[in-house]
Amino acid sequence: MSQVTFTHVSKHFGDSIAVDDMSLQIDDREFMVLLGPSGCGKTTALRMIAGLETVTSGDVVIGNTRVNDIAASDRDIAMVFQSYALYPHMTVRKNIESPLVARRNGRLNSTERARRVADAADVLGLGDYLDRKPGALSGGQRQRVALARAIVRRPEVFLMDEPLSNLDAKLRTQTRLELVELWRRLETTFIYVTHDQVEAMTMGSKIAVMTAGKLQQVGAPQAVYERPANLFVAAFIGSPPMNLLEGVLETTQAASVPGGRVPVANPASVAAGAAVTVGVRPENLHVGGSDVEATVASIELLGHERNVICNVGPARWVVRQGAHDAPLHVGDTIGLGVDPDYVHVFDTASTARVN
């Protein structure tokens, strides 16, 4: 069993709090993505699982073992670093073999080691590069060596700290798919840290959104996208981000905002008159409705669609439009229709979702 559990885990660096009372259950064979902006504590959380940071308070449990006081090398985990952290003076073969030879106890014999290295190299297509040194490899190849070094030990849990951020865009997209395939093939737990919500959405079987050391929401990517738990998650997930506008709740099923009135299908749990922030994703708006009045400020052409950027009251909203819809011009005043089924209502003061 290789589930990982955080129970009220905090990590303090002097006066600053990196991770604040985090409780999280990561199931066996899950691909969990810790997502958040830089400095949100996601890497610190990962490093606590790895044993590279001590835990200030709370318990970190891997399988059924509390690992707070267990050395990194004894935790049956492997980690891929953003910088790959390959040993520059060793060949690819030696790098991959390294976790098998470094530990004194339970060292495999050389035949078994060679077989494991060959297996790992085979999985990642590194067979031709085994005798090269990392300096003679491209970024993508180095990344594969780092992965091979991780899988050669056959650990219970894989930890990955932004492993794709040093790759170019094309290679990143390709490697994303390969990582998911690797996860399916290995049938183990992956815990993956990123600030890139596209990576989180496309790879994770679950995502955990963090900011300022606090866990904001945990769930399947689509669920988090469709029902963000608070304003931070709403604004962080989605590209372009969710359109937000402060207003006042008229009834539990409608909110008045500057420039119009937004219908809400899912009734809000707060009383009429409450200060709320209304959120609508760009794809849930259409030009030609009569809910909200807007002025076109700019238009982005993406080929297959257009992003119409408008001024709505004090806010900037983005409306997604088909490439062949009637063209708009900057300065046009338009009416926007809102799909009430997809309106998100947040309490402005507490930022929590209320519908």
Binding site: R47, A50, G51, L52, A71, A72, S73, I77, A78, M79, F81, Q82, S83, Y84, A85, Y87, P88, H89, S98, P99, A102, R103, R104, R149
Partner: protein, 293 residues
């Protein structure tokens, strides 16, 4: 795909003139450095001629008498001192490399109480020239019976020659700087792989910083091999002279055969020359490491 040439702010002729300036300067400096070696060589092969003592000695050899090298080696009995010097040097270099590397590791990667104070203290010793501690060290050696005028055994002498130099602040500093340049992820990866502190030090940290450790070995060798002042006090029998002491004695004993003296000096320099040729590339890389990234 074609690559645009890197635009430069200065035109090619300007750069050419500047390069020429550098070459002239470097050539002049090389001549300055090599001139004494050249004159030593000229005088070594010029026989015992009186011209060597003139106020304006000839810049060209007045004779080509190669026998002075063989004579000097034989008459000065330089073989044994040379070997003794190499033994002393080897002990000091190995010890300094091991102690400096381990201390550097502690100061670079481990946390312990008074780390900064201890480091400052060790660095402080860099400011003390050997002359400051000389008398105290000689006294200590006498107290420990490692310098013994009446019974200077080889073991005593060897110990006295090496023991004050088994650790060096310069090495701790240089190698620590190298270690600090190792990316932190590498240390983390090694911890996860299961390397112990010692295994990380010798299998990863030292190989990764090889140019710096290599240049330290050269510096350490030069320092140990060229020692003169300390052996002057530590060696109490001509049977245990190091090469530099033997050289001095040989010169004193043969005031009329200065060509021998010059030849002997060149013979004494051979190990240094060999070392520099072997380590030349390492040395240059080590001394400039971190200067450009």
């Amino acid at each position: 795909m074609t690559t645009e040439p890197t635009p430069t702010t200065e035109s090619t002729p300007t750069r050419r003139w500047r390069n020429l300036g550098w070459y002239v300067l470097l050539t002049a400096l090389s001549i300055l450095v090599l001139f004494p070696v050249y004159m030593t060589f000229i005088r070594a092969i010029s026989g015992g001629a009186a011209s060597l003592f003139q106020k304006k000695p000839s810049l060209l050899p007045v004779a080509t008498d190669w026998s002075s090298f063989i004579d000097a080696f034989r008459e000065g009995n330089l073989g044994a001192p040379l070997l003794r010097s190499l033994l002393v040097t080897a002990i000091i270099v190995v010890a300094q490399t091991v102690t400096s590397t381990m201390a550097a590791y502690a100061f670079a990667f481990l946390e312990f109480p008074l780390k900064k104070v201890l480091f400052a203290l060790i660095m402080g010793t860099l400011l003390l020239p050997i002359e400051v501690t000389l008398i105290a060290n000689v006294q200590t050696m006498f107290d420990l019976d490692l310098i013994n005028v009446t019974d200077p055994t080889f073991g005593r002498t060897l110990t006295a020659l090496t023991i004050p130099f088994l650790a060096t602040a310069l090495g701790v500093f240089l190698i620590r700087q190298g270690f600090l340049g190792i990316p932190h992820d590498l240390l983390d990866a090694a911890r996860l792989d299961g390397y112990s502190d010692m295994a990380f030090l010798w299998k990863i940290a030292v190989p990764v910083t090889r140019p710096i450790v290599g240049s330290f070995i050269v510096i350490s060798f030069l320092g140990a091999y060229n020692q003169y002042v300390w052996p002057r006090f530590a060696v109490k029998s001509n049977d245990y002279d190091t090469i530099q002491i033997a050289l001095r004695n040989f010169l004193t004993d043969n005031p009329n055969q200065l060509n021998w003296g010059f030849a002997a000096a060149l013979i004494a320099a051979v190990p240094v020359l060999v070392l520099l040729l072997v380590f030349q590339r390492q040395l240059v890389r080590g001394l400039t490491a971190g200067a450009v990234k």
